[in-house]
């Protein structure tokens, strides 16, 4: 005979869960009591949003399912932004929430909220457990759904009495079978043949690779394929790391703040091989002029992504890794791309990303120094805005799952808690959070968590005393009317010190590397407050709704 809470904790352990991020409260008391002497590690965050982001960071860095736990009502509602962030970027997390007892459900009881209703559009699936006997099966299904197919968050809402009830635990079948859920992994052979024929005949092919490559652990296959055929790779924000940044075939990021050469190559391509991407508006700009001369091939495990935003010539529904492996086994060499690669090399030489060298402290320089110091052997997490784009542009990623950022939802405040999660996924690697002074203040209370648990996250704040990306748009498109984007100065080192965290303020380029070294050498968390040029912009830039080869702030063509 066992309580529901015990069944829950044991079910989590059976799924291989080693750590959960959470915050206690009234209706989860039975679960917390069970955790008290459990071997499951629990990290107490300072706000439930951080628990969801930490579970997300853990999942992205490890490839496993992350877990967070919150109480009913406000606790559950505080998870919502984190769940939506994970949903938009297809990150597998299981969110556990407490709920008022079943006899009070729907009565507007204290701390009651309809969290399954609230999270319906931002979860892959969710459950309200009404019977303790269902708990074990539901946990098993939730992990299966979160981690397979196109991954995503699953929420389990557990009323208090479901946790306290004592029952004889029913056997849970080894294998999950769901009549309505059967993801397609292997691509259709005829479609793969068609795709290979198109690629073989291409003179100006480009691979457009996204987060799906990372999620499917297919970076090796991708680079192998591209190298064998001599096809350059442009990656989305979510795809960074799927090919080493210094690989000759790497074009860097495409889209709104992509490299000029990536956007030129896409625009002139005759075959666009799209892999694990969703033709997001930040990537395509005006969709009609995106890859206007290209036949488009699209691999994705989610059939709903195919043809959603852009018409596709050869769709292949399947897991990116499985499809690429099949393609590699059927590959015939072609030698048509030499002239094309030469042209791309020319673009790369004449349109590089730039970093001003005028003795002042520029954010691009900070990121480049970080890249030089870490050499790709670190996990880089970002907040959202200019800090995110400068990092995406100027950091040389070497490996998949070393770049964690909120791409789809664009959640400010994601970085610090996600970095905490990433540390527990990869304790062997240093974890750096690149932040802005705006976004760090969205979850700055997590200084408490990293200090309390000695989580050695290094926080690089690119401090320009502006909500920089919005200010940039106001400068460019709203006649420099800086409406509510200027922030008063904050001494972040003092805040860090108050939490017992070391830190340093940096005001000159010469002090950047020593500060980064001090952070890396410090055993615990460390805060760097970089006082950067206040009105630095992220360039190049495609204005919203323009064609991606119409970039501002680039080089004359």
């Amino acid at each position: 005979m066992k309580t529901g809470a015990k069944i829950l904790v044991e079910s989590l352990q059976r799924e291989g869960v080693e750590i959960i991020f959470g915050y206690p409260g009234g209706v989860v008391l039975p679960i917390y009591d069970e955790l008290y002497d459990s071997s499951l590690r629990h990290i107490l965050v300072r706000h439930e949003q951080a628990a969801a982001h930490a579970a997300d960071g853990y999942a992205r860095a490890s490839g496993r399912v992350g877990v967070c736990l919150a109480t009913s009502g406000p606790g559950a509602c505080n998870l919502v932004t984190g769940i939506a962030t994970a949903y938009m970027d297809s990150v597998p997390i299981v969110a556990l929430t407490g709920q008022v007892p079943t006899n009070l459900l729907g009565n507007d009881a204290f701390q009651e909220s309809d969290i399954t209703g609230i999270t319906m559009p931002i979860t892959k699936h969710n459950y309200l457990v009404k019977d303790t006997a269902d708990l074990g099966r539901i946990v098993k299904e939730a992990f299966y759904i979160a981690g397979t197919g196109r991954p995503g968050p699953v929420l389990i809402d557990i009323p208090k009495d479901v946790c306290t009830k004592v029952i004889k635990e029913p056997l849970v079948p080894e294998k999950v079978t769901l009549r309505g859920y059967n993801p397609t992994y292997r691509g259709h052979r005829r479609q793969i043949e068609k795709a290979l024929q198109l690629i073989a005949a291409a003179e100006r092919p480009v691979i457009y690779a996204g987060g799906g490559v990372i999620l499917s652990n297919a970076s090796v296959e991708l680079v192998d394929f591209a190298t064998q055929l001599g096809i350059p790779i442009a990656t989305t924000l979510m795809g960074l790391g799927c090919i080493p940044g210094d690989h000759p075939l790497n074009l860097g990021m495409l889209g709104m703040h992509g490299t000029e050469y990536a956007n030129f190559a896409i625009t002139e391509s005759d075959v666009l091989f799209s892999i694990g991407v969703r033709f997001d508006d930040r990537v395509t700009g005006k969709t009609d002029t995106f890859a206007p001369h290209a036949k488009i091939i699209h691999i994705d495990i989610d059939p709903a992504e195919i043809g959603k935003n852009k018409r596709v010539d050869v769709p292949v529904v399947g897991d990116v890794k499985a499809v690429l492996q099949d393609m590699l086994s059927m590959l015939k060499k072609n030698g048509l791309t030499d002239a094309w690669l030469k042209k791309i090399k020319h673009w790369k030489q004449h349109h590089p990303l730039t970093c001003p060298d005028d003795g002042r402290l520029h954010p691009q320089f900070v990121v480049r120094q970080m890249s030089e110091l870490l050499g790709g052997d670190a996990i880089i997490v970002s907040e959202v805005g200019q800090n995110q784009m400068w990092t995406a542009q100027h950091y040389c990623f070497k490996n998949p799952r070393t770049w964690l950022t909120s791409g789809g939802l664009g959640t400010m405040g994601y970085g610090l808690p996600a970095a905490m999660g990433a540390h527990f996924a990869r304790p062997d690697l240093p974890v750096f959070d690149v932040a802005g002074d705006g976004s760090i203040q969205m979850n700055i209370q997590e200084f408490g968590t990293i200090s309390h648990n000695k989580i050695p996250v290094k926080i690089a704040i690119l401090n320009n005393r502006f909500l920089g990306m919005v200010r940039q748009w106001q400068e460019l498109f709203y006649d420099r009317r800086y409406s509510f984007t200027e922030l008063p100065p904050v001494e972040f080192v003092k805040i860090a010190n108050a939490y017992g965290i070391e830190g340093v303020k940096v005001e000159s380029p010469d002090d950047v590397m020593p500060a980064l070294r001090a952070a890396l050498d410090c055993d615990g968390p460390f805060v760097m407050d970089f006082r950067i040029e206040r009105e630095e912009n992220v360039f190049p830039m495609v204005p919203a709704g323009a064609a991606i080869n119409e970039m501002i702030g680039g080089h004359p063509r």
């Binding site: 399954t116 209703g117 319906m120 559009p121 892959k124 699936h125 309200l128 759904i145 769901l178 009549r179 309505g180 859920y181 989610d302 059939p303 709903a304 043809g307 959603k308």
Partner: protein, 167 residues
């Protein structure tokens, strides 16, 4: 833009209907009609939804529906030969005299049944496709339609083709 009749086989579980309807409203679709009930397979229900949209949008909605874990199968009946029916109950003002006779005549033309006779009103029950019911309601309007209640459209494929969980 034309009406599409979607036949959706779902797990018979709490919340399934709101998952389905929530998806429609999120993607900006108006549901023209909706009918839900148990079906031939135990533990499953069938939802029939009529929705207006161009083919690409309907395809996207069907793909999104297919992503819901509790949805077992989605078919667009509109692509095939099918039988579609709905049922309506119409309460018509019918004073003693000529109008009552006329209403009963209309009812017989439409093969509607009179299911309730009151002192000042009649209730008609009519079964047919959407056009037939629309046409009848229009004809009755001159007498005074006090209340008009209709089920959503349900549909089934002609011949041996089926929308069931087996492929």
């Amino acid at each position: 833009m034309k009406p599409h009749t979607l036949s959706i086989l779902v797990e018979n579980r709490a919340g399934v209907l709101s998952r389905v309807t929530g998806l429609f409203s999120r993607r900006g679709f108006n549901i023209e009609s909706l009918a839900v009930g148990p079906c031939e397979e135990p533990g499953m229900s069938r939802i029939t939804i009529v929705v207006i949209g161009d083919d690409e949008k309907i395809e996207q909605v069907m793909k999104q529906l297919n992503k819901l874990i509790d949805i077992i199968k989605v078919s667009d009946l509109t692509e095939n030969e099918r039988v579609e029916r709905e049922l309506a109950l119409i309460k018509v003002t019918a004073e003693q005299g000529t109008s009552r006779a006329e209403i009963m005549q209309i009812a017989s033309i439409f093969r509607a049944q009179i299911v309730d006779v009151g002192a000042k009103s009649l209730i008609l029950q009519v079964i047919g496709d959407t056009e037939k019911i629309d046409a009848m309601e229009k004809l009755l309007r001159q007498y005074g339609v006090k209340e008009f209640v209709r089920t959503g459209t349900i549909g089934i494929l002609r011949g041996s083709k089926t929308v069931t969980s087996s492929k």
